[in-house]
């Protein structure tokens, strides 16, 4: 039924009839026909009469999703993911571009290594951009050769996995990046406050006896970097924002006109710290069990301390998750980014505190977003903007469904549900606490640069 394609495939031609077209670039949301001719969006009248007609009733067509934060793990950790498997996971999730993060082994901290990833990424199931390391060896001391890297088309620089700990180095980076029009993508976490912690500080951490990560760990770096961006004129982008305190700092900085953008992950919007204790309710659900009564509820032995819930920054409190949803809805948060972080089973089948932090996200992000839409916390156009148009704009890509544009889009069924299972994931890893859950949102077709990269029941091939 389903198949993957690649960017090497020929561009396609079809008419998708009666689909709900959501295009934030045009501010449109209407049911109509969508015509694609040789990989470009055209008026229906331009299609030859024998063009394949696909039935779009009940489906949504949106610009191709763009992930600002993906760990493809190649080179060095190919047991967790490869560029090929990660690109397929992206296509399966509706993504047409992913930004590969540089904390590989060796790290992407010099032009030759960035070039190697770009070479290996050609002709895969999605476009791959690279976020280069901000400092050599990601050691936080000497900045990388950003000028040359900029010429290679990097999306930004980051020492993701950790913050640029030295304020002096962060200041130097922002200063150097400013005229290049590239962001410093900051993993905002003060190591002196976060050291040793494994989950968000709060009643659940207290109950479980797990070392707590205080919200101040994020806020101190966010406030520092905002001050540095304003001093230098550089562009600071905070990735995986996870606290309301940091969100408010960003909101104030944006109001002053500072060059600040940010993203949030699906799991910080939808999941909460109660998941570590075995809760499986979404942030917008009425709290029950351990989420409602952190101390007085017996832990579920089947789910408590599930290392799939270990992630950095840790899953947010419910109040912060709801604040992040509101911040996404009102535009303070620019984009949703997955922080897709595959790990092989042996890195997770260990004690919670010993488990590698991170969860996969490319194939579940749209579903979690659609669940938030169904719960009334986001509109569908805003979700599409935050997952496609806005992140693409941040890395200099166009996303539009107007005639004349390259056909770069996703078609999904927002009502249909699917069960998250290792076998249903294209990623080489399955580290997500969503395994076994039934989620809304099934991708039927992903078209990257006019080529079919993923199709499920909606295909020009018969």
């Amino acid at each position: 039924m389903s198949r993957f394609g690649s960017l090497n495939d020929p561009p396609v031609t079809f008419l998708l009839g009666g689909v709900r077209v959501v295009d934030p670039s045009e501010g449109t949301d209407s049911v109509r026909d969508l015509a694609v001719l040789d990989g470009r969006i055209v008026e229906s009248a331009e299609l030859p009469p024998d063009a394949p007609r696909l039935e779009g009733a009940g489906l949504v067509a949106a610009p191709g999703l763009c992930d600002l934060h993906t760990h493809l793990r190649e080179p060095g950790m190919e047991r967790a993911e490869t560029i090929e498997s990660g690109a397929r996971a992206a296509a399966h999730g509706g993504y047409t571009t992913v930004c590969a993060m540089p904390n590989t082994d060796p790290p992407l901290d010099e032009p030759a290594r960035v070039g190697m990833v770009l070479d290996r990424a050609r002709g895969r199931a999605c476009r791959v951009r690279v976020v280069a390391a901000a400092t050599r060896g990601r050691e936080g001391e000497r900045i990388t050769e950003i000028g040359e890297l900029a010429g290679m088309g990097i999306a930004g620089v980051s020492d993701d996995g950790q913050a640029v700990a030295s304020g002096r180095v962060a200041r130097g980076l922002l200063s150097y990046l400013g005229p290049l029009g590239l962001p410093l993508i900051e993993h905002a976490e003060d190591p002196s406050l976060a050291s040793g912690s494994v989950m968000r500080a709060g009643p659940i951490a207290t109950r479980l006896g797990l070392a707590g990560w205080p919200a101040s760990a994020e806020l101190t770096i966010v406030e520092r970097d905002i001050a540095l961006a304003e001093e230098t004129g550089g562009w600071i982008h905070f990735t995986h924002l996870s606290t309301s305190a940091a969100l408010e700092a960003v909101r104030r900085a944006k109001a002053r006109g500072a060059r600040v953008t940010c993203d949030v992950t699906p799991h910080h919007l939808a999941l909460t710290d109660a998941w570590v204790a075995g809760d499986r309710g979404f942030a917008w659900d009425e709290p029950a069990g351990v989420a409602a009564d952190p101390f007085g509820t017996a832990l579920d032995p089947a789910l408590a301390y599930d290392s799939a819930c270990r992630v950095n920054p840790p899953l947010a409190s419910r109040a912060d998750a709801l604040a992040l949803l509101a911040g996404l809805a009102d535009g303070t948060i620019d984009a949703i980014a997955t922080d897709h972080a595959p790990h092989p089973r042996e890195r997770k089948a260990v004690e919670f505190a010993a488990a590698a932090p991170g969860m996969i996200g490319l194939e579940t992000a749209l579903s979690l977003g659609l669940a938030a839409v169904a719960a009334g916390y986001l509109t569908l156009p805003r979700l599409v903007e935050a997952m496609a148009t806005a992140p693409a704009r941040l890395i200099g890509e166009d996303r539009s469904l107007r005639p004349g544009s390259t056909a770069d889009l996703v078609v999904f069924d927002a009502q249909a549900t699917w069960r998250v299972e290792a076998a249903s994931l294209a990623s080489a890893s399955a580290n997500t606490p969503l395994l076994g859950m039934e989620l809304p949102g099934v991708v039927r077709l992903t078209l990257a640069s006019g080529r079919i990269t993923y199709a499920d029941g909606l295909d020009t091939l018969r």
Partner: protein
Amino acid sequence: MLDIAGTQPVSHRPSAGGSVVSRPDAAKPAPSWPHRHLLDVDQLSRDQIEGCLDLAAEMRERRARRETLDLLRGEVVGLAFCEPSTRTRVSFELAAEALGAQVVELPIDVSSVTKGESLIDTLRTLERTGVSTVILRHSMSGAPYLAAREVSLRIVNAGDGLHGHPTQALLDAMTLRDALGTLEGRKIAIIGDIAHSRVARSNLHTLTALGASVWLAGPPAWVRGFGGWPGVHVADSLEDAVDGADAVMALRIQLEREAGGGVPSLREYTARWGLDAARLQAARPEAPVLHPGPTNEGIEITSELAASERSLIGAQVVNGVAMRMAVLALLAQ
């Protein structure tokens, strides 16, 4: 008081011989015991906790009569202590042997387990060698939950990280019930490093389930966040916590915590939160003193108080073996 040294010698063979009294019916565990593992006290209902206490009291009597039970005959109990421990390990070993089980100590490399590499591997190996129950002590919170999910062995949590130490809490409740008659409506003060204490967390579950109100006192960083626990109060000072208390428990403080910023010095800790006879005056007359041991005498409790007749520290040790017998018997049903 029972003389633990006078019981049968530690052996790695099933106990056998003429002194065995086989009367499993007489030590019939409380009805309705649905649990395969003992991961923490939170999984037990009040009735089940009281059933544990009753059965442990019976086990204590039968041990005092030098009876040997064979409720676990034919079973192999593995001691997996991935963290140094003497008294809990010995207590479980005596309990398992008193029930007729064969006890094996698992050669676990503490340094590799603490790196999170081999717990599951080790337990998988045991699964195939006939071990039925594993007594697991581990430095990381939640390790017994992982073990219970990944292998088919019965898991008894003998202390996991900062999270839980259910048999300690049950034996503390047993000791308190003996001394106070009931825990319903009683005020129990717990003093010290609550935040880093698995004993404290399991005690909060147990004592509140039995109807006690628990008052905590200690350095702010070590008691913060526990006020939201139903039935638990965070006192402003040791004096407030001890005032009118029916019993006072001091916790062991880890000497290295000094460096973490919780207290400026051990000297200052003792000056503000050390338990001594004068501070105990504010409690009810005769209010007993407990400590899960081993004590840092002169730091969290004075040597005089620990050795006084108000101290139940010795009874805690005796009850420890009886409670672990009761737990092993219940789980083996």
